[in-house]
Structure formats: C-alpha cells, structure tokens
C-alpha cells in the first residue's frame, strides 16, 4: 500500500467537516484512498478564465416565468 497523501490530522478535519464518524480502520483506509480525490480535484482545475461558467446554471422554474 502506498503512503497516504494527507496527514491524519488534516484528514480528520475533512471528516469532521463532513459530519462523519469513522472507526480507526475506516479512517485509515479512507486516508489511503484520499489520493483518488486529490488526483481528480487536480484534473478538473485546468487553466480557465474567472468568468468560465459551470455546466449547471440557474434557470427559473417554468411555472415561475411570466406568460
């Protein structure tokens, strides 16, 4: 198994922020799997202008529009 890419202290902060309560084995297994989240998060941060819109934008519900 490769070394985790995040310290236990930092990972515990993420888990606490998410409101999750894990046992010791679960926390360690997830800490080792966190590399997948990091790799994905890096991949979606390609160079783009600040104005680049997300795929989902706000639209009014059909019934809320006039006419």
């Amino acid at each position: 198994m490769t070394e985790p890419t995040i310290s236990r202290q930092d990972f515990d902060v993420l888990l606490a922020r998410a409101g999750l309560t894990l046992d010791e084995k679960q926390a360690e297994d997830l800490r080792h799997a966190y590399k997948y989240v990091q790799a994905m998060a890096e991949r979606v941060r390609t160079p783009r202008g600040r104005e680049a819109e997300p795929a989902h934008i706000f639209v009014f519900p059909h019934e809320a529009t006039a006419g």
């Binding site: 409101g19 998060a41 979606v44």
Partner: protein, 470 residues
Amino acid sequence: MIGSNAFPTIAEASRAIEAGTLSPVALTEFILDRIAALDGRLNAYLTVTADAARAEARDAEAEIRAGRRRGPLHGVPIAFKDIFETAGVPTTCQSRALAGHVPARDATSVAKVRAAGAVGLGKLTTHEFAFGGPSFDILGQPARNPWNTAHFTGGSSSGTGAAVTAGLALGGFGSDTGGSIRLPAAYFGLVGLKPTYGRISRAGVFPLAFSLDHAGPMAWTAEDCAIMLEAMAGHDPADPASADVPAPPYAAMLDRDLTGLRIGVIRHFWEEAEAEPETVAALEAALKVFEGLGAKLVEVRLSPLSDWCATCSLILLSEAFAVHEEWLRGSPEIYGEFMRMRLFLAGAITAADYVQALRRRRELCAEFAAAFADVDVMFTATAAGPAPRIEEMGAFYTFARPLLTMPFNVTGSPALATRAGFSSEGLPLSLSLIGKPFDEATVLAAAHAYEKATEWAARRPSLEAVDAAA
C-alpha cells in the same frame, strides 16, 4: 426446456403474439418457470410478482384477442431494477435502509411500459442504491454472471443483465450514472442503451447523482432496445430535467443503409484504459465490419479519458453524498461496506472541487459537440476487457482505473453498448456507439446493422455451467 436457451427476443415474441402463434399467458408461465429453476443461482430477482404477472398476461391476452393490441410490448414479460418505484411492490434499492419500503405509485417510465401492455415480472437486483457493489453484506445477494458465475456482473444494473442473459425476462430496466447500464451490458454480452439525458423520465427512480442519472433499456438486441425505448421515452413534467423533445418511432428506423455514415473512432480512450489485446482485436475487427457496411472512419482525439472520469466522479460523489447525508451521519452501519466507504470518501470532496468539476464539464461538453461536427456517431470500447473475477472488485475500483463509460454521462449523450465478440475464456467483449443529443435512432441503427453483420447475438451462455456452479 428450462435449461435450454430456447427463448425469444422481445421482437420475436411480439411478432408471434401479434400473429396469434404465441400466448402471453404461456410465455409468462414459461419465464416464471425459468425464474423458479435458475434464479436461485443467479440472484437476478429481489421480488418476483408472479401472481400479478399472470393476471397482466391474462388481461393482455384477452385484449389482444379482442383486437385491441396496444403495440409491440403488449403481453411481453419484462422486469424492473429495484431503484424504480413500483406501486404496491417493495422498492428497496437492495439496501437495508429501504427494507420494507412499498411505494404507492409507479415511476413514470414503469407506468409508461405498463400502459404499453408489458407484463411486469418483478424487481431486479442492483448494486446498493445503484452504487455500492458487488456486495455480500446488503439486502439479498448480488447477481451472478451466467457466462461464468465466478466473474463480475458489472454494475449497477446487474440483476437486469443476469435476467435478460439467462432468459428470466425478455428485457429490463436499467439506470446509468457512470456506466451502470453499459458495463453490465458489456459483461453479460447484451445491448444496453443509455439514452440522452432527459429522454426518459427519472421521476420515481431513486437518485444517485441528479445531473448524471439516466434510465434506459437492456435487452438482447438493438431492436429490442428500440421497442423498449419507444415505450419508456417522453416528456414528463414531474422530472425537472425531462426534455420536451418528441421521440421518433425507433424500431421503424432501424434498417438504415450505413453507406457514408461517418464514425468517429475515439481510439485513445481504450489505449489510455490499457485495453486488453483481445478487446483491442475485437474493436479493430468491428471497425472493419462497419467499413464493410459502407461507413467511413474518422479518428477523433479528445481530452484524456482521466479528465472525463475525474469530472464524472467528482460530480457523482458530491451529488450522491447530498442524497445520503442524513443516513451517512446518523446510521452509516445501515449500508454495506462498499457503499459506505465510497460515500465516506465523497465527504472529503470540497464545494470548490464540485464547482470546478462542473466548470470542467461545460468545457468537455463543448469539446465533444465540436468533435461531432464531422461525424455522425462515435465509436469506442465499453470496457477494457471481459468481466474480471468478482473477488478482484474492491471498494474503490471505480477510481483506481478510468471507466470508458463515464465520458458520456458527462455529456449526457445517447450511448449504446453491444457485444463485439468473445474472449478466449468465452466471456463477452463489447463496443460502444455514441450519438448526438436525442439521436438515439442513428446509434440504434448502427448497432442493428453491426448485429446483423456478425454472429455474436446467436451465442447464449450455457446454463448447464450455472447448474454446475450451484
């Protein structure tokens, strides 16, 4: 007879019912007998609604004899993945969290096929909440693969795949958020169609990830998928993402001459997924078949496969976490281990990660639309190889290697998986065809032409092997 492979496709059954040479009642009894004989080893069903199926078959037979045949699904027995709500019938998502849940109403797509006269056989196994599997610590057992029960089914529409492959239903409902129709279709040697996002209503389907979820048909042939899609598709105000785009008569549009059809070949996807040599050979042979049918091949290069998968996975995990947040915080032990660990991992994703994935999604969709300027349909692999052994599947396997199906959940494009041959071990191999938004007709026609030009659809698994594994 039960152990044999002598069972019809939807189209064959439909034509025989129309001609009066096949009784819906007899066909339904025949399939119920097969379920009783074989499902103890295949675990395709969580609930078999035998009495209701018999009653529906009797009603169908009476209506058809009275000259009121509703269409090609009338009297044809099919089944529903257990994330689709069914009135009065347990809908559990194969999770202890929903054990005993009995909805009052049918999902819109279920109601539509019932209105088309289909006979409902029951509810099919799934990965837990269409995400956590293959799991042995949830409600019921995972479906097994009739080609070799030691090998993975793909997921999450695993029960649908097992049922259709073994003749325990003529067709079935699947759902697809990252490949859950197409991967089992690949590992079972079926045809599975994820239509355009918005083409089939999601109302009454338990959500996995709202912006990636698709419902669709799984069946033995492209023609069968066309017949099912016609009945399932249509605008539904109850689904905010439902598209108000008319669905054409797909089955009548199948016999299309492929001469001049421009096929975009996304070869680098299967290279980046490190496709196995037998899969690569099958894909190259399939391309030659398409050329022989008159199609013109065009090489297409897109962003790396891992970019598409990262985008899909971050969105999927974030939206799924939101759906399950209350149970995850309050009673995580209610899930099987794989579901619980995958959703726990989702808790480590930040809001900024999610929004950056949505921004990447817009870029990738624009890139894919531009790539379609010079082609009519795209071609790539469905999976990097045949079904792996079931014990190889760990909690995080979907993140360890890129999935070839995920790009088309990102784009919402219609995407179809169909068999492209067999490995030396006798396991199915699969290719994918992807269309422009709402152009399922071209995808189905290309798959139908390929199916007619090859012999793969004639091969069924030996159910004696299933018996031997018992």
